[in-house]
């Protein structure tokens, strides 16, 4: 008889792990590909041994332990490939680079993309200095390596992660020079009804804020401009808010303005994207079940829509049920309904967050001409604006072709949204008309010396 359909999950964070478990319960044997050496993703990153782990707010080692060991409990019922980076996807196969440096391919019948999100950065004067990290980078240093990224770290950005990361650093005994948020405290008020939809998360957020305040760390809200100072390495940060401009000495800056879903695989598979006007990000079209308009392609977790860790787990489970449904396998309608209710609640909370911590579009649009936007290629905001004016082109892919912005190692992951904003502003058109950088394979650098398992010449 015909063998079971092959479901492939890319990414073993909370979303991918929940999906794998659900598929196994549904009688399938999914193939799970994960870039990192261990499961858990960003949320459940675990240190080997760090004595302060239990003190970190928002970090529940027992839960992380349980989540990961739950997953490890089913590895004999899945095909599990850690250390494997997917590089390209077509309608019938995936190409990936294994930890052994070997390239291999796999066919797939259904594909769940659960590739998570990266911190969003805004190009600011000095942001390319050594000592500037993303919030995620700073958190990883703390959780995985047990050390802070500097002796005195300034936190800049907006969103719950900003306060969480600062509070975690304080709890770990690190010195925090400043927490600077582009959002206003007042902005949080209209968001309150939505935020009350998840009292636990709201409480965590408030607790983080309190930790920072009690520690006597300088706090700036409604930040309008920021400059990282130093030559080669960070020496200080100066921020401007209603109270004026002030310098704060520090030797590291951790920065993040919300998260950007990693959507390259969905893009390569022709999933359509829509612009979310409030954040200025283009997101893949998915519904609450994780289905995309492309048959057999599903998305879950922060890789589709940034809703947070709990929602990631729920959406992974929901997408797995959608896969089972679409394969004609029995699923429990009540379970589906419950998951969708829960997800609706998480969406509501996320709406509240987006209101309380709006993305600082003005800060991004008014990037100084001299400021580097694309750090891989050293392209400044001025070079982007001048290409737009010289050639009358504002499509961000045309800007890339003309200026090299987004052509480097990271393929525009960091600078794409800012480049689009700057191009649109220079052309005087709405942001949507600048479009988005299209993904091109390989979505991660491919070492030329990688050996290949495949011998057939065409595919």
């Amino acid at each position: 008889m015909s063998s079971d359909p092959l479901v492939v999950i890319v990414g073993a964070g909370p979303a991918g792990m929940a999906a794998a478990r659900t598929l196994v319960e549904g009688g399938l044997r999914p193939l799970v590909l994960e870039k990192g050496p261990t499961p858990g993703g960003r949320l459940w990153q675990r240190p080997a041994t760090v004595d302060f782990e239990r003190r970190l707010p928002g970090h529940d080692p027992d839960r992380a332990e349980r989540g990961v060991s739950d997953f490890l409990g089913i590895v004999d019922r899945i095909d599990w490939y850690p250390g494997t980076t997917v590089l390209d996807a077509t309608r019938d196969r995936l190409w990936a680079l294994g930890s052994d440096g070997v390239i291999d391919q796999t066919p797939w019948d259904a594909l769940l993309v659960a590739t998570g999100a990266l911190d969003r950065v805004v190009p600011l004067p000095g942001w390319t200095l050594a000592g500037v990290y993303t919030l995620g980078g700073a958190q990883a240093a703390l959780k995985v390596h047990g050390c802070a990224v500097g002796r005195r770290v300034a936190f800049l950005g907006t969103g719950p992660l900003l306060w969480l990361a600062a509070a975690q650093h304080l709890a770990a005994g690190a010195e925090v020079a400043l927490v600077a948020d582009t959002s206003h405290r007042l902005g949080a008020l209209p968001a309150l009804p939505d935020l009350l939809s998840d009292p636990q998360r709201l409480a965590l957020g408030l607790a983080c804020f309190r930790i920072v305040r009690r520690a006597g760390v300088p706090i700036r809200l409604g930040v309008r401009a920021a400059i990282v100072e130093g030559n080669e390495t960070v020496r200080a940060i100066s921020v401007e808010s209603r109270g004026g401009r002030r310098h704060f000495t520090c030797d590291a800056v951790a920065m993040g303005f919300g998260l950007v879903p990693q959507t390259q695989l969905l893009d390569l598979l022709d999933v359509p994207f829509d612009l979310v006007p409030t954040s200025g990000l283009w997101l893949p079209r998915t519904d609450r079940s994780g289905r995309t308009p492309v048959p057999r392609v599903y998305a879950a977790g922060d890789g589709a829509r940034v809703l947070g860790g709990d929602a990631a787990r729920l959406s992974g489970e929901r997408a797995a049920l959608a896969i089972l449904e679409d394969l004609g396998r029995p699923t429990d309608p009540e379970r589906v309904a419950r998951l969708e209710r829960e997800l609706a609640r998480q969406e509501r909370f996320a709406r509240g967050l987006a209101r309380a911590f709006p993305f600082p579009a003005e800060l991004e649009a008014r990037t100084d001409d001299d400021t580097v936007v694309c750090r891989c290629e050293g392209v400044t905001a001025g070079a982007i604006a001048s290409a737009v004016r010289t050639f009358g082109r504002h499509d961000v892919n045309a800007v890339k072709a003309l200026t090299r912005c987004g052509m480097g190692r990271c393929q525009g992951r960091l600078c794409g949204p800012a480049a689009a904003r700057i191009a649109a502003r220079a052309a005087g058109v709405p942001l949507g008309e600048a479009g988005r950088l299209r993904a091109q394979p390989p979505i991660e650098p491919l070492p030329a010396r990688a050996r290949c398992m495949v011998t057939e010449p065409n595919g």
């Binding site: 590089l87 390209d88 077509t90 190409w95 390239i103 391919q105 290629e377 010289t390 050639f391 009358g392 082109r393 499509d395 045309a398 072709a401 003309l402 090299r404 052509m407 480097g408 190692r409 393929q411 091109q440 394979p441 390989p442 650098p445 491919l446 070492p447 030329a448 010396r449 290949c452 495949v454 057939e456 010449p457 065409n458 595919g459």
Partner: protein, 380 residues
């Protein structure tokens, strides 16, 4: 929508805003001839804006050499012509022979090309090693052509479009020609969205879509779509000066000033209907393997991006350029078969002469559409 169309009238209508179309528009506009160019997407969106950037005469079919020679002269003063730096550099082109048969082919080509005033320097195995220490083992001979070089297609294509515009050509982007009617003495083109264009002369510069455009007028000129597959590495510290190619089929490779190595070989996949193409991962892997044999140090780098571009390929691998054998006022220039970037600046100049003067000093013998017209002498 009420279906109302704007109607324009001009002297010359050009279908396609690649380099061929834009260079034709530029040369017509410089002679103050009204022309309107219709481009389905954006100028340079296809082959002209995404190609490898090789600018070489070496290795070309002899029939292309008169045109290539003229193109080379234009490349030398490109900045003055288009008002910007397209990064053309005469870095030389090195063609490599893997065995004695290929070495003999190199030698034969050098002899023949000399009659056209094109020069190649034959290099022995030892000379290759001494002069290009980064080169891999196993090449029997090489041929170096100092006049050849490379340019940046991402800049050249938009520069031509901008120059044509500023000389007075009308360039309309986002207009897809969907129907053409013969309306003696000229043509009426219908484009989506909402445009009708009446012109005395029509230039088909639609690249890979050239066969389809010809077919709208009942003319059958063969070409098939192909999608050459391209890759680029992260920057490497050593310096490969010349543009590299193989005597037989194989890869082509060049290093740009920032250190990245751009190389290509094989094909991706193409969908002419949806106007899209895609690099093939399997092709890329094969190309990487071959490129590492040519430049072993490339193995230290990572490949950071691959892409493909849509091009039309004719049965004899030569472009179709010149007047229609059957219809007065119709000119074709498409099917460049993977090597039209270098030629395009001259194609526009020659077409402008054919249209306005009825003849050109640059020979198109062997490239004319008539070779595919049944019953005509050239087709025999």
């Amino acid at each position: 929508m009420n279906g109302a169309r704007s109607r324009l009238r001009t002297e010359v209508a050009i279908v396609g805003g690649g380099l061929v179309g834009c260079s034709t528009a530029l040369h017509l506009a410089r002679r103050r001839v009204p022309c309107v160019l219709l481009e389905a997407e954006r100028c340079g969106a296809h082959a002209s804006g995404v190609n490898y950037g090789g600018v070489r005469q070496q290795g070309r079919a002899l029939a292309e050499l008169p045109l290539a020679g003229r193109a080379r002269r234009i490349w030398g003063r490109l900045e003055r012509l288009v008002g910007g730096d397209g990064e053309f550099r005469a870095t030389g082109h090195l063609r490599l022979a893997r065995d004695e048969a290929e070495a003999a082919a190199l030698e034969g080509w050098i002899r023949e090309a000399a009659r056209y005033g094109v020069h190649g320097e034959l290099l022995s195995r030892e000379a290759l090693r001494a002069r290009f220490p980064w080169l891999g083992e196993g090449f029997a001979a090489g041929s170096f052509s100092a006049d050849d070089g490379q340019a940046n297609p991402r800049l050249v294509a938009p520069l031509f479009a901008r120059a044509a515009r500023s000389e007075g050509a009308t360039i309309l982007e986002g207009r897809t020609v969907v129907a053409i009617e013969r309306a003696p003495p000229g043509f009426v083109l219908r484009a989506e969205p909402e445009l009708e264009l009446e012109a005395r002369v029509l230039v088909n510069a639609a690249g890979a879509w050239g066969t389809r455009i010809a077919r709208l007028l009942g003319e059958e000129l063969p070409s098939e779509p192909i999608a050459p597959n391209m890759l680029v590495s992260e920057p490497l510290p050593f310096r490969i000066e010349p543009n590299l190619g193989m005597a037989g089929p194989g890869i082509y490779l060049r290093q740009v000033p920032d250190g990245s190595v751009i190389f290509g070989g094989g094909r991706g996949t193409v969908d002419l209907e949806r106007r899209r193409c895609r690099p093939s991962f399997a092709t890329s892997l094969a190309t990487i393997g071959e490129a590492c044999r040519v430049v072993p140090e490339l193995a230290r780098a990572s490949i950071i991006r691959t892409w493909a571009g849509i091009e039309g390929r004719t049965p004899d691998d030569l472009p179709i350029i010149g007047p229609s054998p059957r219809m007065a006022g119709l000119f074709h220039a498409f099917g460049f078969s993977g090597h039209g970037f270098m030629l395009a600046p001259a194609v526009g100049a020659v077409l402008a002469e054919l249209i306005l003067d009825g003849h050109s000093a640059t020979s198109l013998a062997g490239l004319e559409p008539a070779r595919f017209a049944p019953g005509s002498a050239a087709a025999a």
